[in-house]
């Protein structure tokens, strides 16, 4: 066989010309500004006009949100806030948050037990952080999840270890949102993978079942599914049996998310070249070995962006449970400003809630970008 070492250049090719430096960069902040914002008199004019409006509104927002804002009022005396609203220099009344933040975060959970849902929120967040780190991706992570979820159940319900019992009807706020989103996606994702595989199965019965599931669920709004879960479903149950309302809503969310995620996963499965399936089969791998080692690892990497898109969408869609009277974060916020003393301060409350949603969603988004870069490193030459 050939004696030429194959990792060096092919023999006989003439020595390459001496490498040259790339042309000097014409970038830098000043060059960028000139090229993009001030390249012609029209661009310059537009830049100046837009800059004027941006600065003006930024200043008035800072005035409203920080300079003129009221941060607390004594004993629900909101007269100062109301006066500020109509004054020529309006300001935000963050006092509503100071006053109501515990209701917004924890809903109607018994006030003196609020530390329990607070710990639950911390546990959930810690669980996300730990699960996000690749060095913890081992089978023990499943145990951590199981233990944490049991601990969360114990904390929320109580009734053991000296904790007082709190019925599910009194839960509310952020823990509800996190419970719905976490259980929803944790169950919907595996379900989605099975359904996506099922839609490509060679067995007609399984394929038809999966197609019917996806099309039926996708064809109706989440609200109508939630209604069915809360109003119609109990009618079919025998007398005396009552399944928890939250659980019913949870199942509806899982089924709904599952149908959407299944289509995302299926997109990834279809994007894989047929040769990958054939090579795995030719090596004698069984269906599940082929799927687990070859197909899914590649297919799921391909669809990280739309998967996270759907995840983020569902995190926010959990707020629709307000329709069946479950007190999630958004509903709790809405209810907080029903009290006459605080009516009219919805803007402040919604901004505060938006910040909470944004923190979770933005974290998901950033993390997915890192994960994508990390997992697709094999594509880089």
């Amino acid at each position: 066989m050939s004696d030429i070492p194959l990792n060096t250049s092919v023999a006989g090719v003439p020595e390459a010309a001496a490498p040259r430096q790339p042309p000097a960069l014409t970038t830098g902040p000043a060059a960028w500004l000139r090229a993009n914002l001030f390249s012609s008199w029209l661009n310059t004019a537009m830049t100046l006009v837009l800059a004027y409006f941006i600065v003006r509104y930024a200043i008035s927002f800072v005035d409203w949100a920080f300079v003129n804002a009221i941060w607390s009022v004594p004993n629900n005396q909101t007269a100062a806030c109301r006066a500020l609203k109509t004054s020529p220099n309006p300001g935000a009344c963050w006092a509503v948050i100071t006053e109501k933040h515990r209701f917004i975060l924890f809903g109607t959970y018994p006030y003196e037990e609020h530390w329990r849902p607070a710990v639950v929120c911390v546990l959930f967040t810690a669980l996300y952080v730990v699960s996000a780190m690749r060095r913890f991706w081992r089978w023990e992570l499943a145990v951590v999840w199981a233990v944490t979820l049991v601990a969360i159940g114990i904390l929320m319900w109580g009734g053991v270890f000296g904790l007082s019992y709190v019925p599910q009807e009194r839960w509310g706020g952020l823990p509800i949102t996190l419970i719905l989103a976490t259980f929803g996606l944790a169950f919907a994702f595996p379900l989605a993978i099975l359904v996506a595989l099922g839609r490509r199965s060679s067995m007609p019965a399984i394929r038809v079942l999966c197609i019917a599931y996806v099309e039926l669920i996708r064809g109706v709004p989440l609200i109508s599914l939630l209604f069915m879960a809360s109003v119609m479903f109990p009618l079919f149950l025998p007398e005396g049996i009552n399944i928890d309302k939250l659980l019913r809503a949870q199942v509806a969310v899982i089924l709904f998310a599952g149908a959407y995620l299944a289509e995302v996963v299926r997109g990834g499965l279809q994007a894989l070249p047929k040769g990958q399936y054939e090579a795995a089969e030719a090596l004698g791998l069984s269906y599940w070995q082929k799927t687990g080692f070859i197909i899914l690892p590649q297919a799921l990497r391909l669809v990280i962006p739309p998967l996270v898109n759907t995840f983020i969408g569902f995190f926010k869609d959990t707020s629709l449970v307000l329709i069946i009277g479950i007190f999630d974060l958004l509903t709790a916020g809405k209810t907080a400003v029903v009290e006459p003393a605080w009516q009219g301060f919805g803007v402040e409350v919604y901004i505060a809630i938006s910040v909470i949603y944004f923190v979770y969603c933005f974290a998901m988004s950033r993390y997915s970008q890192n994960l994508e870069a990390e997992l697709n490193r094999h594509r880089v030459r």
Partner: protein, 264 residues
């Protein structure tokens, strides 16, 4: 592995006629829709025999060898591989796929696994080999195809010729009794074809039973015990390479050879 492709010496035959045939195709028929792609194809390959299949594109040669490990399903006729009848019996199929290695035109390495993982996956999970042993075996074959130093890279970091040699090593790690090559050099740049063919010559010298779909006539002359010429889904002619190439008895083979040779 010292044979060079341009020598005229045909490497020694290792056919074992005493053993039952490694592969038997008996009047195999296959249709894609209404298109008849395999017409009464019958072929026997003895243990240790090297068969080269050639023919114009669309003649059914790839379809035929893909039927042998059931990447395609035939509709009529019998296929017996290593004593296992290829039918709907899943266990026979598993047994056949364990004993038959395949190398594809487009390599089909698993891009998310390293070269070493590509080679050890099937031995560990299909042959139930301990990981350490599988890695030693993989390094042995990677050394044999002359790329042991690339073991921890990903397929995307290798050249086409290197990838195809990894694909050969990956198939060999299953210690197959039979190797199928489906146009292994067709997707390669000319300067990389030789390194892959050299690897295949080495395998042939070791007495591996091989069926190889290829247009490399030099390889066929040097290695093949028999050349099978297919056209329009039929086996038109077969015989020893010298006899077939110098005295084609059918018009179709003459036309094919003149087209192939004009290209070289």
């Amino acid at each position: 592995m010292s044979a060079a492709l341009d020598t005229d010496t045909h490497i020694a035959s290792s056919i074992r006629t005493d053993a039952p045939p490694a592969i038997l195709l008996d009047r195999v028929n296959k249709w894609y829709g209404s298109m008849h792609v395999l017409r009464d194809v019958s072929l026997q390959v003895a243990t240790g025999e090297r068969v080269v299949v050639c023919g114009p594109s669309g003649s059914g040669k790839s379809t035929m060898i893909r039927c042998i490990n059931r990447l395609e399903q035939h509709q009529e006729g019998r296929i017996v591989v290593d004593g296992h009848e290829l039918a709907d019996d899943v266990r026979a199929l598993d047994a056949i796929r364990r004993e038959v290695g395949m190398v594809f035109q487009s390599f089909n390495l698993f891009p998310h696994l390293t070269i070493l993982e590509n080679c050890t996956l099937a031995p560990i999970w299909v042959r139930r080999m301990p990981k350490r042993e599988a890695e030693e075996l993989a390094m042995h074959y990677l050394t044999r195809v002359k790329i042991p130093d690339q073991a921890l890279k990903y397929p995307g970091q290798l050249s086409g010729g290197q990838q195809q040699r990894v694909a050969i090593a990956r198939a060999l790690c299953m210690k197959p009794k039979i190797m199928l090559f489906d146009e292994p050099t067709s997707a390669l740049d000319p300067e990389m074809i030789k390194e892959v063919l050299d690897t295949m010559v080495g395998l042939a010298e070791d007495g591996m039973t091989m069926i190889c779909v290829t247009h490399e006539m030099g390889f066929a002359r040097q290695v093949a015990d028999r050349v099978v010429f297919m056209d329009r889904g039929e086996v038109v002619e077969q015989g020893a390479p010298e006899q077939l190439f110098s005295n084609p008895s059918t018009e179709r083979l003459k036309t094919f050879l003149s087209q192939i040779l004009r290209g070289h």
